[in-house]
């Protein structure tokens, strides 16, 4: 029998007066794992997190932490702690008082508070800063203090509400790695919500992709990237070229589609069977497209519309001369494509398995 999940949501629903923010969400988070909820703004992820923290109560469904139902339990009585989006460190207290706040509420005696505060600050790599004021810390240090303030209480689950959003890019990249290592050092369950897919992909053991109050897919980063089970996930996780059109031929999993402009594209279906004439959309990742300068078998001819140079992530935008359809392709930085410029002729092809076809109109 598997261990009791640290956090368990069962058909959790939250209705506001005029709309449903969270719609029958169910998931388990096993102990010691890093679970991310990824979704665009307004998808209900913050409401979900606030329900777990206890600031909002679900309309229906159940929420269990270590097997105990948390319905009707206030935020100050739950074994969860939250790192707020803007951290919410108390400016009226110094760092030691900030980190010790939770322990003081529990009535722990002063000498023990001091020891535990120093120990946890040591663990997050900030020894000896108890006397400093919040305003004297850098962004990354505040981040770590906010985590220390929660971790000193040894919560069963640590909730993080997009805490990296306010940091600059370099620091954000650095903090991603640090958060992950802090999580494994403390061996505490982290539930992390973000709209930034790279944060979720890099750090998480499991990711739930949330859209319009529902979980579209729960899986590891690889599963979401390689096996998205819906058009939304395919479009939201990673970059993708998206085409809409009608099916012209079906052969098992392999299909051929014609776009509204008349491009014929090969793809494969994963989830649902499609029939000829059905409206579908297909997604092809820019990095899955093979670019050549010479014509090769089953490659199509394109002209370069523009080159967006961004170091290793450089993109070329190709135009199909016959139909005008645009295609984004990652430029391999092997040197072969260094001289490409607007108007040059190139050839592009992809494996049909890399192009995923989903039935239905887009967005």
């Amino acid at each position: 029998m598997p261990a009791t999940p640290d956090l368990q949501c069962i058909e959790l629903t939250k209705d506001f007066s005029d709309f449903r923010a969270v719609d029958q969400v169910s998931f388990d988070v096993p102990p010691g794992s890093f679970f991310s909820i990824l979704g665009p703004s307004g998808c209900g992820k913050t409401t979900l997190l606030r329900m777990i923290a206890g600031f909002q109560f679900p309309t229906s469904g159940d929420l269990k932490i270590k097997g105990k139902s948390m319905i009707g339990v206030g935020p100050n009585k739950r074994p969860v702690s939250m790192v707020f989006q803007h951290l919410a460190l108390f400016p009226m207290m110094n760092i030691g008082e900030n980190v010790g706040f939770g322990l003081r509420q529990r009535g722990v005696n002063k000498t023990e508070i001091k020891q535990r505060v120093e120990r946890v600050l040591d663990r997050v790599g900030l020894p000896g800063i108890t006397e400093r004021q919040v305003s004297q810390l850098s962004g990354g240090q505040k981040q770590r203090v906010a985590i220390a303030r929660c971790m000193v209480l040894e919560p069963d689950v640590l909730l993080l509400d997009e805490p990296l959003g306010a940091l600059d890019l370099k620091l954000r990249e650095h903090m991603k790695i640090e958060l992950k290592s802090l999580q494994s050092a403390f061996n505490t369950t982290f539930v992390y919500i973000t709209h930034d897919q790279s944060e979720a992909l890099v750090m998480s053991d499991k990711i739930a992709v949330m859209n319009k109050g529902r979980f579209d897919q729960i899986g590891t980063a690889r599963e979401l990237y390689y096996d998205p089970n819906s058009a939304f996930v395919a479009g939201f996780v990673g970059d993708a070229n998206r085409f809409e059109g009608k099916i012209t031929a079906v052969n098992g999993d392999a299909v051929t589609m014609v776009t509204d402009n008349g491009s014929h594209l090969k793809a494969c279906t994963i989830t649902e069977r499609v029939t000829k004439g059905q409206h579908v959309q297909i997604f092809i990742r820019p990095e899955a497209i093979q670019l050549t300068l010479e014509a090769v078998a089953d490659a199509d001819e394109y002209t370069i519309e523009s080159v967006l140079f961004n170091g290793a992530n450089s993109l070329a935008i190709l135009r199909d001369p016959a139909t005008g359809d645009l295609l984004n392709v990652t430029l391999p930085q092997t040197g072969a494509f260094l001289g490409l410029g607007k108007g040059d002729r190139v050839y592009a092809r992809w494996e049909p398995e890399q192009a995923r076809c989903y039935p239905g109109e887009g967005r």
């Binding site: 206890g54 600031f55 935020p75 100050n76 939250m82 989006q85 108390f90 207290m93 939770g102 509420q105």
Partner: protein, 287 residues
């Protein structure tokens, strides 16, 4: 050239402020000060001395009234804070948008009429033949009419009512600036309502509390109408004493001395209050 012109512009802009300070505040006070240190020895004969101040300390009625005014004003300030804080908290933190504006406006509306009218309003409510007294009789709670006016409680009611807006406004402003997530973080870390109020909300609101208290204290101390009307002729308010010296007794010398003592008292108490709350005047007023 340009620097001369910009200097001229600077002084022109400064002129109204300087005129206001010098003509309306500094000059009258200098005048009052000289009046207060001149003792009348005969008809149109004056000597310089501190005799007027000595009168104050030698006459128990004067300094007792002085102390009573100070204590009543401090109590008014405390009461206003206790009543105003929950109201301000409700307006700042529990309401949004239109409700907030409406509630704020409702605090403001009584101030559209003069203080005199507002105080008479209270008299209509509290007097022997007033609404409260009649209501109590109608309900059978009292046998005969009850006089609520002309006591210290009536003065307090009037003073709190007159000054509560000046407590609510700075409190709403400071409480508004407290991020909701601070309060949520407090709860999340296991805090109770009381400990969050004590450790997070009040420390954050201290500048607003202090500036509100200073304003309310000054207003109560310097109030003349409310104590006289609601407290009757025995109200014994220090401003009333000053008024009597100037207008009834025509003793400008003693009146001026009383004026300076009142100034010293209010400055002294505000100073002590700031020291006790570890705030500076620039911090609280600069907001």
């Amino acid at each position: 050239m340009t620097s001369d012109r910009s200097k001229l512009g600077f002084y022109l802009l400064l002129a109204p402020l300087l005129l206001w300070l010098v003509l309306l505040i500094i000059l009258p006070h200098i005048g009052l000060f000289f009046v207060s240190i001149s003792e009348k020895v005969g008809v149109r004969e004056y000597e310089t001395g501190l005799g007027n101040y000595a009168v104050f300390f030698n006459e128990p009625l004067y300094w007792r009234t002085f102390a009573r005014t100070a204590i009543m004003s401090i109590s008014t300030t405390a009461l206003t804070l206790i009543l105003g804080f929950p109201i301000a908290y409700y307006i700042a933190k529990m309401t949004r948008g239109r409700t907030k504006t409406t509630l704020f406006l409702m605090c403001l509306i009584p101030f559209w009429v003069s203080e005199l009218v507002r105080t008479f309003g209270w008299m209509i409510l509290l007097r022997e033949t007033g609404i409260v007294s009649n209501a109590l009789q109608y309900l059978g709670l009292t046998a005969g009419p009850v006089e609520f006016l002309y006591n210290d409680a009536a003065i307090m009611v009037g003073l709190v009512y007159t000054s509560i807006l000046f407590m609510i406004v700075p409190l709403v402003t400071t409480l508004d600036s407290l991020d909701d997530s601070m309060i949520e973080a407090g709860y999340d870390l296991g805090g109770t309502g009381v400990s969050i109020l004590r450790e997070i909300i009040i420390p954050h609101a201290i500048p607003g509390i202090v500036s509100g208290c200073i304003v309310v204290f000054m207003l109560s101390l310097g109030n003349y109408l409310t104590p006289i009307l609601l407290g009757g002729k025995d109200s014994l308010w220090f401003t009333g004493l000053i008024y009597t010296q100037f207008i009834t007794r025509f003793n400008w010398e003693l009146g001026s001395a009383f004026g300076f003592l009142l100034l010293a008292l209010s400055s002294g108490i505000v100073f002590v209050g700031l020291k006790l709350s570890r705030q500076t005047l620039s911090e609280t007023m600069g907001r």
